[in-house]
Amino acid sequence: MFVHAGAVSWKDQAIVIPGESHSGKTTLVQAFLELGATYYSDEFAVLDSDGQLHPFPRALRVRSNLAAKKIPAAEFGAATGVAPAQVRLVILTRHVPGLCWRPKALSQGEGILGMIQNTLSARRYPELALSTLQRATEGAHLLGGARGEAKDTARWAVQHLNP
């Protein structure tokens, strides 16, 4: 299942950031990479039938002004994921300048709704989408809320993610 999302892993724990275009996924992914996370994607979280994350490691599309540049993850000093990773954190957020990151814990159901909104082919394969998202979110922390600076959000997330 393809979920429109950024994805990284931190100490073998996958962090998934669902969101539509221009929600700030790539910026947040970049912030995680600069902290030492492993790159999986800035566009699609690819989930298997067990809910595990697989890499889709295209070059990051970093936007500045009106243009987008393709920057490989290696240029941020980041490794690229090769093995599937268990999802441990889902962050449903969008960037609002000047805001402080005060995440709200979401229930598994709320997390699934947030992710299904960004799941390609959910209408065509609803059973598969729901079972995949259910498995992916089991045991994961699910957080929601608008964020300010990506660096602050990423730092908060890695500090709160227990290995």
Binding site: F2, H4, S49, P84, I112, L113, L120
Partner: protein, 139 residues
């Protein structure tokens, strides 16, 4: 309870369902909507089998009838019931504030809640490259 209220027997729609630990996810293939029912709403929805009225549902769940009624109104608004609540009794029941006052401090935890979203079409989001078209990945 008036005769009309007592006569109303809710019937749930036959929807794709996933049971979570404390919630239920429903997917309506016709309306392309996904719903998340909290524990209370899910408990009421499961008993909407076309055989029980509100009083009987409340008795099975050991909950206030007003709470069951509130759940039914939430479920009807979300479109997961097969039978509409008659307009003559639609406004029956207490408001959330009144129910909290009646049940007490713990009410906020048990009030029924249904969240719904419209599941977007595939064209609403960018597609993966052709060679990576959506497929089921098995480990």
């Amino acid at each position: 309870m008036t005769d009309e209220l007592q006569a109303f027997v809710p019937v749930r729609k036959d929807l794709l369902m996933r049971e979570l630990k404390d919630e239920v996810i429903l997917y309506d293939k016709t309306m392309k909507r996904a719903h998340c029912l909290n524990d209370t709403a899910a408990a009421v929805w499961r008993l909407c089998d076309g055989r029980r009225n509100v009083r009987e549902i409340a008795r099975v769940l050991e909950k206030d009838e007003e709470l069951v009624w509130m759940a039914l109104q939430e479920l009807e608004i979300s479109g997961v019931l097969n039978r509409e609540i008659p307009i003559t009794i639609r406004s029956y029941g207490l408001s959330r504030r009144e129910l909290v006052r009646k049940i007490g401090v713990g009410a906020a935890v048990v009030l029924p809640m249904v969240s719904s979203i419209l599941v977007p079409t595939a064209s609403a989001a960018p597609s993966p490259p052709a060679k990576q078209s959506p497929r089921r990945i098995r480990r």
